[in-house]
């Protein structure tokens, strides 16, 4: 690993920790005692592996394999795990844009079964992402490639605006991606 890469990893790990502490400190009382915002480690990856066996899981993403590559490639990344007591409820990864003015959330997933904080995982992930964006001085959070209109409507309700990349969901591409955004 290059020294500059290692240096960025260390500096941004501090920012990740700081942003999680900041978000954790302002959680509403109904969640404050049980919910914990953390990073992603082997512990989270082992538990996320169990999600793959669920018949209710709707996506095909290998967290262990994918996260390991993501971590090595993006030292300035955003990463977050959401815990409720000892139950892993969600995971998310994202990264700042080249100039750092935007934070893009590339992928986030909640546990497919029996979530004890149902309805709160995605809002907590957004709060964590917005906290990290503020910590690194970004002005906008982007949710990349929403897969369908239902998702767009859901994130609209949480304050995000949709930008069409192509004329239909399947037609957006790398040069012209579709996303939702919120200025922070």
């Amino acid at each position: 690993m290059l020294a500059t890469h290692l240096d960025a990893e260390r500096r941004y790990e501090l920012l990740r920790q700081e942003s999680r502490i900041q978000a954790q400190s302002i959680l509403p009382s109904k969640l404050k005692d049980s919910v914990k915002l953390a990073g992603i480690s082997q512990k989270e990856l082992v538990l996320a592996k169990l999600w793959e066996a669920s018949p209710n899981r709707q996506v095909n993403w290998d967290w262990k394999f994918g996260y390991e590559i993501y971590r090595k490639r993006y030292p300035k990344r955003f990463e977050l795990s959401i815990w409720n007591d000892y139950f892993l409820c969600g995971l998310a990864i994202g990264r700042p844009s080249y100039h750092g003015s935007k934070l893009r959330l590339d992928f986030a997933e909640k546990v497919p079964d029996n979530c004890p904080i149902k309805g709160h995982v995605m809002p907590l992930i957004l709060l964590g992402a917005e906290s990290y964006a503020l910590s690194i001085g970004a002005e906008e959070v982007r949710l990349m490639h929403p897969l369908n209109e239902r998702l767009v409507n859901y994130y609209n309700r949480l304050g995000y605006k949709y930008v069409e990349g192509g004329s239909e969901f399947g037609q957006a591409n790398e040069k012209n991606p579709h996303y939702l955004y919120k200025k922070i």
Binding site: Q22, A23, S25, I26, L27, P28, N56, R57, Q58, V59, N60, W61, G66, I69, Y70, R73, I93, R95, S97, Y98, H99, S101, K102, R104, L105, D106, F107, A108, E109, K110, P112, K118, G119, H120, V121, M122, P123, L124, L127, E130, S131, L134, S135, R142, L143, M144, H145, P146, L147, R150, L151, Y154, R157, L158, G159, E174, K175, P177, Y179, I184
Partner: protein
């Protein structure tokens, strides 16, 4: 040094205020039944970010 510290503290407080308001918006009454299982497209997680042109 003290000036840097003050600036940092002010920024921290500003961020704290923004986040507190946002936490209220996001978590006081979220759409529980509509919560999706995921956001993002796993096949595009590693795509090159070409959106920075919007900054210029």
């Amino acid at each position: 040094m003290a000036k840097n510290e003050n600036t940092y503290n002010e920024k921290f407080k500003q961020n704290q205020k923004k986040l507190k308001d946002r936490a209220e918006e996001l978590l006081s009454n979220p759409p529980i039944e509509e919560e999706p299982q995921s956001v993002g497209d796993p096949s595009k997680v590693f795509e090159e970010d070409k959106t920075e042109g919007n900054d210029k």
